[in-house]
Symmetry: C2
Subunit: 119 residues, 2 copies
């Protein structure tokens, strides 16, 4: 059993503080997001499902922006470019399938590369 | 985008009130569980990850009982027999991979069959 409070929190990109857990087929990322943080445009072969528990963010996928609040869920299909911005401090659970190997060691290579590209 | 409040709630087995959403590779089940409800022993080829948001339940897997409270997550590997009981009213998010086809139409055949077996 995993106790989320005991998982170490890491700031993957500015304002994105994440805790991670992996099952055989999925990766779970529990985020504490700071208002104003920016998720740079990127894509990955993993399907991603975004669940918002509190706060507000704007996710853009296929050129369409969606305002997400508590109790909403967004499915990002594999390979689809997406980006986002955090409107208010937020708590979010992302579920990826298959496992995000880059999150196992905290490198988050896809996001880091995307962040470098916009700097 | 899915708004959980707008998904219909169905009582799959007594005390298990669920809302369901499916992505390409996963099924998400958001449960409102009644204290005292029983999850009969069963198994399925899907990997299942149980996330407890509030309340308390006991999950037994491989003969080992685990008391789950808010902020804990349990990974049930494919094909592993499991059962549970709800200690206090609880809110839980289950994530299955691959998609639970039986939840698409609300039949939840695996659980219903398991429930019949103990009645």
């Amino acid at each position: 059993m995993i106790d989320w409070d005991k998982q170490p929190e890491r700031e993957i990109i500015p304002g994105f503080h994440g805790r991670f857990a992996h099952s055989e087929r999925m990766t779970f990322a529990l985020w504490r997001l700071d208002a104003g943080a920016v998720l740079p445009p990127h894509e990955h072969p993993h399907e991603q499902v975004v669940n918002v528990f509190s706060g507000e963010l704007e996710m853009t996928m296929n050129g369409r922006a969606e305002r997400m609040t508590a109790g909403t869920m967004l499915v990002i299909p594999p390979g689809v470019r997406h980006e986002g911005r955090v409107i208010t401090d937020a708590r979010v659970l992302d579920v990826f399938a298959p496992v995000r190997e880059d999150y196992r060691d905290g490198v988050a290579s896809v996001l880091s590369a995307a962040m470098s590209a916009i700097r």
